[in-house]
Symmetry: C2
Subunit: 325 residues, 2 copies
């Protein structure tokens, strides 16, 4: 109900009469009034003028399912949205929902994570209200070996959304970090449950540092937030919606060919490592070279003295020779 | 306690005195007596002779954790064994145990499966007492793309165990079926939970038709059991133990190189499709050719008019051009 009222207020410029809301939603004036009061109590500024109706003046920076549903413009992402005030990790919850049969496109969002995780079990700082913690559930008809490329799809989505919304020069640190001015604002953690030849489901977790003003000492040199880098008027729900809109667009391109051949040029234009010296932390034998962008399989092409090495997404880490990126 | 008494009775030829059992197990004579009574009630024939002690005459065909522990000879498989009289599917249970933190080498075994599954969600007939339904939990430090080869490791283990125990000509139908005289006696279902670059865990489910006397009409033409093909005196627990012993041996070889290069020759010698005409049911474009065995990556090499095609484990199905195999 709240989500529908919010959406109705948002969809109409100016005032919406109580009568219109009743008819549109098929409920009583009392129900509408109660919904409006509930929204106000949550921080929505709603003006009520007699003979004119209601007008949404401003929204609080919340990421509730109602808020997200009311601004939803995506086609298939977010038909189901599951919100937690606090949870262990949105990836863990998304995997539970997957086992319970939730559909392709469902996403989980949390106000706070108590056990946020990065790749290989590393922890991810998840302070309340300062960040976006969300995970998309996918049930794609692709092969397990194609799943790593979904990390690249997500990286494109976040990068383009941040650039569009805040005019900030977000860049991709292959394969799964987004950086602003050389420091990390976003990490992506893709996990899958699969048979050998077919995927049960994939979860794509996205953590974004939005309004953090400081970081723990250990990560402070390499971490930053959108706010710290100059982002203004950041409504997390809007950013979430923008990320999913971009995700749908890049996912479509990916899904046509089941590879990232259709986004190579765009991806490489945002690649912070592009044409830079990188160190590939191959567990067998680390090596250095010049990053020359990704190929259609999402592998990083690294030019070394002995030729071009293809680095598989995620098998190794890549570090800039000079500093984090 | 029961498992320890059983093991003690098995490890000694002839009689074991009650006193020996007490000392060996560090418990009272009453406790030993109770354990013996419990075992008898479960179908173990135990002779008790005064002044001599106890002697195990025969064991019932049970697959309880106690029985399996008492005959265990493996090194790391089965340090933990979880038994269910009945369960939905041993793969599902093994995945639950994995999430709960059970260690590498744990295995699940069930008397009966109520929702046994084969690849891609196909059902697997799991009548009580007629079969072996078990799943091994692995936490190998390998890459997701290497996991498919564990199916081949399991196929080798079952094939060699059946051959050794019952002198029956078990053969492998690449990649995940075992056949006797051209009909299926065993299917293997390998599943994994993984990040893009690292495995959380793998479960290897093995279903074996042991003493089935008949099958549902729909699968009767292609299914058989060890008993139907001439196997005698089949104690399921012994076969389970034999499979895991073989699994450990072939897993060691696999793990050294993280591929199946060390078992190519042995595998191909059991390959029912070897040098036969096969039809590769590639979803894009089915084709026919002569199967020439696996390579070190576990791919099936199929010789066609336009050269040798490598068929990745599990991406496609392979059928004999003449009949099931």
């Amino acid at each position: 109900m709240k989500a529908e009222i919010l959406a109705a207020l948002r969809n109409k410029k100016g005032y919406v009469s109580g009568q219109e809301l009743c008819e549109h939603l098929g409920v009583s004036r009392t129900a509408v009034w109660k919904g409006i009061q509930k929204l106000k109590s949550e921080g929505y500024q709603i003006e009520a003028v007699s003979n004119k109706g209601y007008c949404l003046i401003s929204s609080p920076d919340v990421v509730s399912a109602e808020e997200l549903k009311s601004i939803r413009k995506t086609v298939w992402i977010g038909k189901k949205i599951v919100y937690y005030d606090a949870t262990d990790s949105t990836n863990i919850q998304a995997k539970h929902l997957a086992e319970e049969g939730y559909p392709h496109g469902t996403y989980v969002v949390a106000g706070r994570q108590e056990a946020g995780r990065g790749r290989r079990g590393r922890s991810w700082e998840s302070p309340e209200h300062d960040g976006i913690f969300m995970t998309l559930l996918l049930r794609p008809d692709i092969r397990p070996k194609e799943a790593p490329m979904l990390t690249l799809v997500a990286a494109m989505a976040v990068t383009v959304a941040v650039r569009t919304m805040y005019q900030l020069p977000a860049e991709i640190k292959w394969p799964n970090d987004i950086v602003l001015h050389g420091k990390k604002i976003c990490g992506i953690l893709t996990e899958m449950s699969a048979e050998i030849d077919s995927i049960h489901y994939v979860v794509v977790g996205i953590g974004i540092n939005v309004s953090n003003q400081q970081f723990q000492k250990s990560i402070a040199p390499v971490a930053t937030s959108i706010a710290l880098e100059g982002g203004r008027q950041i409504y997390r729900a809007e950013l979430i919606e923008a990320v999913w809109e971009q995700f749908e667009a890049y996912y479509d391109i990916f899904f046509q060919t089941r590879d990232v051949s259709g986004i190579i040029e765009a991806y490489n234009s945002y690649l912070v490592n592009m044409d830079k010296q990188v160190r590939v932390l191959d567990p067998k034998e680390p090596f250095e070279g010049i990053a020359r962008g990704i190929n259609g399989q999402g592998e990083l092409m690294v030019e070394t003295e002995s030729g071009v090495q293809l680095v598989s997404s995620g098998e190794v880490s890549v570090r800039g020779v000079y500093g984090y990126v």
